[in-house]
């Protein structure tokens, strides 16, 4: 999957309260949530965002509350992908589970500015800042997560498992660190934690 869109750039520690304030959590309607997306950090976001745009942020994007309404609001607002230096762990899982593509790519995140045209190739894990004419390599999803992504999201993965077609994660068990592409080794060199899995990126957008 390839996305091309305009960057909306934010700093570090963007919390889920500013992504979707709790005063709007009395609904689960994606469009209604989208109409308040980023309201407390960027009041004009909703009027500026266009389908296919890309949110770019520094460390710890999506920290705070577990509200899945946060990635839901972003996705329903038309955002194609979020590129960040790192993600808070619950947000990271939620985004994958609901099919909002996300990518951990610190250099791309630091150097991008609002208004830059960004191209994301999820399969290659490649971020290109077309405005700055620079290409960045993000990490790929580890194998474990690729199974969820390949199934089309977590609930489909669960359905497959129920039907006995879920592959090797079908029962309680383990996949060893180091045997998993992009996990253990990458983690050690990434003090901020490059994703729930150490590695991140890839085609998360099929759910």
């Amino acid at each position: 999957m390839i996305f091309e869109g305009m960057a909306h750039k934010y700093g570090r520690d963007v919390d889920t309260d500013v992504i979707i304030p709790a005063r709007y959590l009395n609904t689960t309607d994606p469009d209604e949530l989208a109409s308040h997306c980023m309201e407390d950090i960027d009041g004009s976001f909703v009027s500026r965002v266009k389908p296919g745009d890309i949110i770019v942020a520094e460390e710890n994007f999506g920290c705070g509350s577990s509200r899945e309404q946060a990635p839901v609001a972003i996705k329903a607002a038309g955002v194609a992908c979020v590129v960040a230096a790192s993600f808070a762990r619950i947000f990271y899982r939620n985004a994958i589970n609901i099919g909002l593509p996300i990518l951990v790519c610190p250099e791309a995140a630091y150097e991008a500015e609002s208004g830059d045209l960004i191209r994301v190739d999820l399969d290659k894990g490649e971020v290109t800042n077309l405005t700055k004419q620079k290409v960045y390599q993000a990490d790929r999803f580890p194998e474990f997560m690729q199974e969820i992504v390949a199934a089309g999201g977590l609930m489909k993965h669960v359905q497959n498992k129920a039907k006995g077609t879920g592959g090797k994660q079908g029962s309680s068990g383990t996949q060893k660190a180091g045997g998993t592409e992009g996990s253990g080794a990458d983690m050690a060199g990434a003090p901020d934690g490059a994703g729930e899995t150490g590695g991140a990126g890839g085609a998360a957008g099929k759910a």
């Binding site: 919390d15 309260d17 709790a22 959590l25 669960v158 309680s172 253990g184 899995t197």
Partner: protein, 423 residues
């Protein structure tokens, strides 16, 4: 001979049917409990039903608590609670807690013995990490993860690295678990423990009450942690006696267990803490904020809404009145806490101090209801987050503190340490 493991690793090894696990392993863990509330359950239920699933894996172990926007603050919240209630009835959930029976989820689950040491718990609420105080592995997830957990009784997890925090020495009388954790977050930052387990130990933790331990583990998420945990000991055992619904498994970390980092903290050096807007890591000694005018004080929440917290607040408020310019709101975390506070005369103390006392609810903590701030207003709150707009208007401010500082501030009208008011 298995590798030496931390308490978190031991719990996850057992839950995944392994002799051992190590950080970075992906496991499928068997759940002891799955939890959702009135703002996260509706999404989970929708996912669950959209996937064509009909029955939860175990109606005894799927817990739902309506606590955030209840008693319902508006029609939309009422519709959401109704959706949860209807699902709970349909599924025959043994542990569904509604108005009158409910309390704040992370106060009532331990109180009712629904979580025991050694458990693996996921909750569609980020403060699910609270239960680590019991020596359980507990972590927050989103609604879809919860929906999958409700269906299968399992969750996939990456085994976290563990950061060990040793709290040694004797704290000052007015320094509480809240001050320990605020101080720690101030030290490591809001992503200082990202993806990791925070294991709290040392002399000062062994001497800390269960309520203090709940407060500390509750805020592990504010440092980005996957879970907070205290190795179960005699204090844990005493708490579980007579309430644990299942047999506890009291795992402890091996002496040779590997830690990603060990942080030693001298609690004698910790002063009562306040986290300034807009991150829980913006901590300073409360004394440094002396004179800062405050409009509202909130005492309660899943962080500090337990009986010991109310006792601390009452110790300061007894025989005193809240400053005329401060709206003081006390919210016991559960019906049991409320009742105990009544028996001990604490509610009288609060009302005589001209504080409002509310039925249990998350309410103002997340800007839901029961104490929303106007533009330019400032609150001192015993809650857990002080993000932009967290308690109301985007131009309002939240200062996080423990119950002693909050109560002293209510009396003084400006940020205060207890000694100032009690003198």
């Amino acid at each position: 001979m298995t590798r030496p493991m931390t308490v978190t690793e031991k719990i996850l090894a057992r839950a995944s049917g392994q002799d051992e696990v190590r950080p970075g392993d992906f496991i499928n863990a068997r759940l002891d409990l799955a939890l959702a509330n009135d703002i996260t359950a509706p999404l989970a239920i929708r996912e669950f039903e959209a996937a064509g699933l009909t029955d939860v894996w175990d109606p005894e172990r799927v817990v739902m608590v309506c606590d955030h926007f209840v008693p319902n603050k508006d029609i939309k919240s009422a519709e959401q609670s109704k959706l949860v209630r209807d699902f709970a009835r349909r599924q025959g959930l043994a542990n569904f807690f509604d108005v009158g029976r409910m309390g704040i989820e992370h106060v009532i689950l331990p109180e009712k013995g629904l979580v025991v040491p050694g458990d693996v718990v996921i909750g569609a609420d980020s403060h699910t990490c609270t239960y680590g105080a019991l020596g359980a592995f507990a972590t927050g997830v989103g609604s879809t993860d919860l929906a999958a957990g409700m269906a299968t009784g399992e969750v996939w997890l990456r085994v976290p690295e563990t950061i060990r925090f040793n709290y040694e020495g004797e704290p000052d009388h007015y320094v509480t678990g809240k001050d320990f954790i605020l101080y720690t977050i101030g030290m490591i930052g809001v992503d200082g423990a990202l993806y990791s387990a925070m294991e709290f130990g040392g002399e000062a933790i062994r001497n800390l009450s269960m309520d203090g331990r709940f407060t500390m583990c509750n805020m592990a998420i504010e440092a980005g942690a996957k879970n907070g945990i205290v190795e179960p000991d005699a204090v844990t055992g005493e708490y579980c006696r007579g309430r644990a619904r299942r047999e506890p498994v009291m795992a402890r970390s091996d002496e040779e267990a590997e830690y990603a980092r060990v942080v030693d903290i001298d609690v004698a050096a910790i002063e009562p803490q306040v986290a300034r807007p807009h991150l829980p890591s913006n901590t300073v000694a409360a004394a440094e904020l002396a004179g800062l005018k405050i409009d509202q004080v909130v005492i309660g929440s899943c962080t500090n809404g337990r009986i010991e917290d109310l006792r601390m607040a009452a110790a300061v408020l007894k025989g005193r009145r809240a400053h005329p310019d401060v709206r003081t709101i006390v919210i016991p975390g559960s019906q049991q806490v409320y009742r105990q506070a009544m028996k001990e005369g604490l509610i009288d103390i609060f009302i005589e101090a001209e504080a409002a006392v509310s039925t249990p609810t998350c309410g103002p903590c997340l800007g839901g209801h029961m104490g929303i701030l106007a533009a330019g207003e400032r609150a001192v709150s015993t809650t857990n987050r002080n993000f932009v707009g967290r308690m109301g208007h985007v131009d309002s401010e939240v200062y996080l503190a423990g119950p002693y500082v909050a109560a002293a501030t209510a009396v003084a009208g400006t940020v205060a340490v207890p000694e100032e008011v009690l003198a």
